[in-house]
Amino acid sequence: MTAATQARAAAGAKPGRKPPRLGAGRRGRGGRGGRGGTGARERHSVVLSALMTIMLCYALLPLFWLVVNSAKTQRALFTTFGLWFGGKFALWSNIHQVLTYDNGIFVRWLANTVVYVVVGAGGATFLATLAGYGMAKYDFPGKRAVFAIVLGAVAIPGTALAVPTFLLFSRLHLTNTPWSVILPSLVSPLGLYLIWVYAADAVPTELLEAARIDGAGEFRTFFVISMRLLTPGVVTVLLFTVVATWNNYFLPLIMLSNPHWYPLTVGLNDWNAQSSTAGGQAIYNLVITGSLLTVIPIMIAFLVMQRYWRSGLAAGSVKQ
């Protein structure tokens, strides 16, 4: 890469061909001062704050309930008021029980989930980035067909695929293996679409041509130059795929019968089923504390990643 390449990057170039969109292009709006209406100096509205506070309470109430009840013994769950602490403070002993119950099966489920997320969501994001970039920046035979396929697939709901995928995989004796969960989560047509829209603007075609003139290979250019420019788009797609795989339930439920391969979601439901079954050992405190432990990592990941993500890109999905 020469200085000329860098200079062209800085100058910004005409965007390449973009996928067709419905709406207007994305335009950043400079400064938020004096907008939203009638006057330059807008007062904060008390009514609006009150209404939004109600909505905020609605959003946070169940999570508050979860924290409060994770600190209760099973007995206290039934005898004390649900929205405040009561009985012995049992959070640490609950966590200890969750992690050790049934020979530490919860830890196993956590490890499974991490593997499914890293391989599944990471792989899905990588494949979508590669393909979305290819669609935005290259012309190749059969591109129209790929375009039609991808656009059609965005509308196919994942849950609609669970039963058919199970039927095929059970025929191929792939069920009850980690691959039965990972393989289907590697496909993210929506992710591909988002990267495509994003790459069309974010990676100047002239920059790529400059790199070509400099003699850089196509894939090297991708990994060294383009990936850097694509980062905000990639993080956004990663956020979606990580949340989707961490929270995946229907697919592993249908694919896995051996508890040793369960992700957290299916495992928790198993514990709940055990508690609700007549004759089963009730472990509601473990279901609740286990739920808390399931939510915490994904929330941390979520809060960290949302700082980097482009909400404009989320809307990009909107402006097909």
Binding site: K18, G82, A160
Partner: protein
């Protein structure tokens, strides 16, 4: 589409490596074929056969689909998700719309706190969301029963068969209102500032700006949120499947079409019929999603 054709003509130029693009798209397409195309094809194939006592696996054409059309359990489940779609989706989208307008109004202090908190439930797994709400609904250590006795009013049992659909609607609304709010909010942020300046010069009121600038700007976002909501409603599975443990009397094995297909596969081993229901529902979902899109586009024109 015309613009795309024009830009195609302008930007088309001879390229040295015409097949290079496949190197980028190829890996995705291979996985796509294995994990998405193949299962759908196999399910379509399965749905055309039937396991028979005499003669084994026999080709029966569309008989499985005909069976579904005359199956009251399928119709009941379909009616239920359509009702869900008609009530829950508008409630959720209106809530999300109002919240997004409030965030964008510049009249809200600490807007970022509201935005993040209301979006947060999207990150909660459906399993955990359903368990939390289910426990709060439940009679054993439920809040609703507690509130009933506290306030001395007879609140209905949220897990009874007449209320359970509303309770599921509440869970789904809780999970996705913030997500939709964010989609709307992003669309509002993309409105060029000059429009507001022009409107304020013309003396438009705040409500006038909402009516004539913001709502039209939200149309594409509304269409997409509508499409996703149609898909989510018709394919409803997670929430009722998890609540089933807590409300076995109110939620049967064919509560939604997806639950029916799942239970046919597992409890009944009726793979062929299950495949027909899954494929049939996939088609119905896509047709409805497409109709929403078409409706949104036509009104925009």
């Amino acid at each position: 589409m015309a613009a795309a054709v024009v830009s195609r003509a302008v930007f088309r130029r001879p390229r040295r490596r015409r097949w290079t693009g496949w190197g980028f798209v190829g890996p995705f397409l291979i996985v796509f074929a294995v994990a998405l195309v193949a299962p759908v094809c196999y399910a379509i194939y399965l749905s055309l056969f039937r396991q028979q006592l005499i003669g084994g696996n026999a080709f029966v054409g569309l008989a499985n689909y005909h069976l579904a059309l005359s199956d009251p359990r399928f119709w009941e489940s379909l009616r239920r998700v359509l009702l869900f779609l008609a009530v829950q989706v508008p409630v959720m989208l209106v809530l999300a719309l109002l919240a997004a307008l409030a965030l964008d109004s510049a009249r809200l202090r600490w807007a970022a706190v509201y935005r993040l908190s209301i979006f947060l439930p999207y990150a909660v797994p459906a399993v955990v969301a359903s368990l939390m709400w289910g426990f709060m609904y439940g009679s054993q250590f439920g809040l609703v029963a507690r509130l009933s006795s506290l306030l001395r009013v007879g609140l209905p049992d949220p897990l009874s068969s007449s209320w359970v659909l509303v309770s599921i609607g509440n869970i789904v609304t809780w999970e996705f209102a913030g997500y939709n709010m964010l989609i709307f909010y992003a669309a509002l942020r993309a409105v060029p500032g000059e429009l507001y300046e022009a409107a304020s010069i013309d003396g438009a009121t705040a409500l006038g700006i909402v009516r004539w600038i913001k709502l039209p700007a939200l149309r594409p976002a509304l269409v997409v949120a509508g499409v996703f909501s149609v898909i989510g409603s018709l394919q409803l599975f997670n929430e009722p499947n998890i609540l089933q443990q807590l409300a076995p009397d109110a939620i049967g094995t064919s509560f939604t079409p997806n639950m029916y297909a799942y239970n046919l596969s597992f409890a009944g081993q009726e793979y062929n019929y299950s495949a027909a229901i899954a494929i049939g529902m996939g088609v119905i979902t896509m047709v409805l999603a497409y109709a929403v899109q078409l409706y949104g586009r036509r009104k925009a024109a």
